[in-house]
Subunit: 359 residues, 2 copies
């Protein structure tokens, strides 16, 4: 176990701040990702927080400012649980770097994602006590983590539209998979915003700012924006990311694995993101000329991915397993990974392709 409570086998991109992704075998263990295998994306060191002194400040365009201790949060509001998949906007950046280098950004593979059951209170209930004023339109989350990469150096933060903030699935969470939220995942309190990019589920949350405009800090106004292929990142450049994109992966077999000939069960996940659900997952062994439908497994509710499986017949030789997921708007994943290249390497949701050798 590493000092952050993680099992061996994670791919560590950076030790300080800690950034590590989950391998496909750990993701394949089940639809809920074990906490000790769950990916970590952080922009600053884990802040030292004394729980007894910690307060959540709710301010901005509200009728009533609040300062809530942890006991008050637990006692004054109804406890809720939501099972939600988190996925980093930089997930699968390595596929884009393979097309053209992206200096200064870590080469995340497909493991910057995971699903957990989160326990806490609804942000909506806290907002109802603070009473957003008429002009309120966004809800900002401020973390306690200081992020040296930001210019200027600042704490992490970001905002979501008020309309989303008032839906009951958005949590202020102190629990993860039935245990206290670990420090590396944001203890004592983090936001969990199902359907949005991971960056909006702000960790080490100590400030909620109800705003008239979106968050003006670095991690929403400069980073986490999709800049056109020929553009340059900068303040306000490109489109702000928010809703997380439809995505999928093959979790077993692994890329490059040797498998047996004959029928082999292939497994993976599909995640619709936003307010959508996974409607279908297709798998092809002939480069997309024909497709077979995978079986969708456990339904953990509207905010979680679906694991899937399909038995395919492998002749001796090399095969590429190609996958396309469909969401409930009948949208499917892009075919051409190269066309998704962008200067920050966000939102690679091309159809995954895993190569295996049957012998």
């Amino acid at each position: 176990m590493s000092r952050y409570g993680k099992r061996a086998g994670l791919t560590v991109h950076e030790h300080e701040p800690f950034n590590a992704e989950t391998g496909p075998a750990a993701l394949a263990e089940g639809p809920l990702t074990a906490t000790d295998a769950f990916y970590v994306r952080s922009h600053g060191a884990v802040p030292e927080i004394v729980p007894a002194a910690w307060r959540l400040r709710v301010h901005g365009v509200v009728e009533r400012e609040l300062e809530l201790s942890l006991p008050t949060l637990r006692e004054a509001f109804r406890e809720r649980q939501v099972t939600a998949t988190l996925q980093c906007a930089g997930n699968r950046r390595a596929g884009l770097i393979a097309i053209r280098d992206i200096p200064g950004e870590a080469p995340w593979g497909a493991g910057a994602t995971g699903t957990a059951t989160w326990t806490g209170v609804a942000l909506a209930d806290v907002l109802a006590l603070a009473r957003p004023r008429r002009e309120a339109a966004h809800v900002g989350f401020g973390g306690a983590d200081v992020c040296p990469e930001a210019a200027p150096v600042q704490r992490f933060g970001g905002s979501i539209p008020l309309d989303k903030a008032c839906r009951r699935e958005v949590l202020l969470a102190w629990g993860m998979n039935g245990e206290p939220l670990p420090p590396v995942h944001g203890a004592p309190l983090r936001a969990v915003v199902p359907g949005y990019i991971g960056a909006r589920s702000v960790k080490w949350l100590d400030r909620i700012e109800v705003r008239t405009k979106p968050w003006a800090g670095y991690f929403q106004h400069v980073a986490y924006r999709l800049v056109p292929e020929d553009g340059a990142p900068g303040p306000g450049e490109g489109m702000p990311l928010g809703l997380v994109a439809l995505n999928a992966d093959v979790l077993s077999a692994a890329d490059g694995e040797k498998i047996t000939t004959g029928p082999v069960e292939v497994r993976g996940y599909a995640f619709a993101g936003g307010e959508r659900y996974v409607a279908r997952v297709d798998v092809s062994l002939d480069g997309g000329a024909s497709w077979s439908q995978a079986e969708l497994l456990d339904d953990l509710g509207p905010w979680a991915w679906r694991h899937w499986r399909i038995k395919l017949d492998f002749a001796r030789g090399e095969h590429a397993i190609l996958v396309r997921a469909w969401d409930s708007s009948a949208a499917t994943q892009p075919e051409d990974e190269a066309a998704l290249w962008n200067p920050n390497g966000y939102v690679n949701n091309a159809r995954p392709r895993v190569r295996v050798r049957a012998a």
Copy 2:
């Protein structure tokens, strides 16, 4: 003016039931589509309804059944207006038929869409009076129009999830663009479900059924489902359509038009559908090798398309104007129209391509 109050110039696919689409020039007139140019998709003849005898029945899993007259609807609930784009799931089917024939389905071009300001009451307010029971999960809409194409012959209908039905943008509408709703568009009352395929905005509405399961009638259980390319339509086959897909079109110049050389303003629309907004529209004259960003015009709110424009420089000769819209989840339109072919010809949202000749 035709007997349904439509101007000349619409493409009429069928006279009885009346089915007609709007031409690009009429769509280009402005972000609101004139009522006399607005497309009509119907599956049965316009029913004869005596307004004084008409009642809206609200029943199913509710605490209190309702029978509401038009005066009661107008007096008992707050009047609301929503500007919303409607788009038929069969819009642009002609592009799919060009790839492989789709017998029995009309070859709709790109004009089965339009945007209007709708006036009525929020379905949510009516539901609040009826009080859906705990097991309620869907809200069905029953129309008065008898549809001979259905098996068995039945009235038109469909349902949406209760969660969507309780959002204030879903209207029971009696007004369109500031005038009384015309008979061909569903008078005395229709549903308007922004962000969903047009088929859920049921016309000639006389029945709202709160349900535990989705609508079991023909137009949701058999039709309006996306069947895999190699599948066959049938009860429960394929995925039910609901959220409308990201789409766009060039409205001027028209396909095949002769234009002048030099700078020419190109205009079109983009529509994000679902709960998303249009984040960017790109236009290419070199087949997608490079893209320029169009300017987004009037913002009519979260449920309406965005018109856009861009000035492009045309050398003498043939050109293809290629467009891709992006939504707020960083999803863009599919590249390959052929890959979208399906047995009913729904959801063609490939990147539009318009050919012009500059001289």
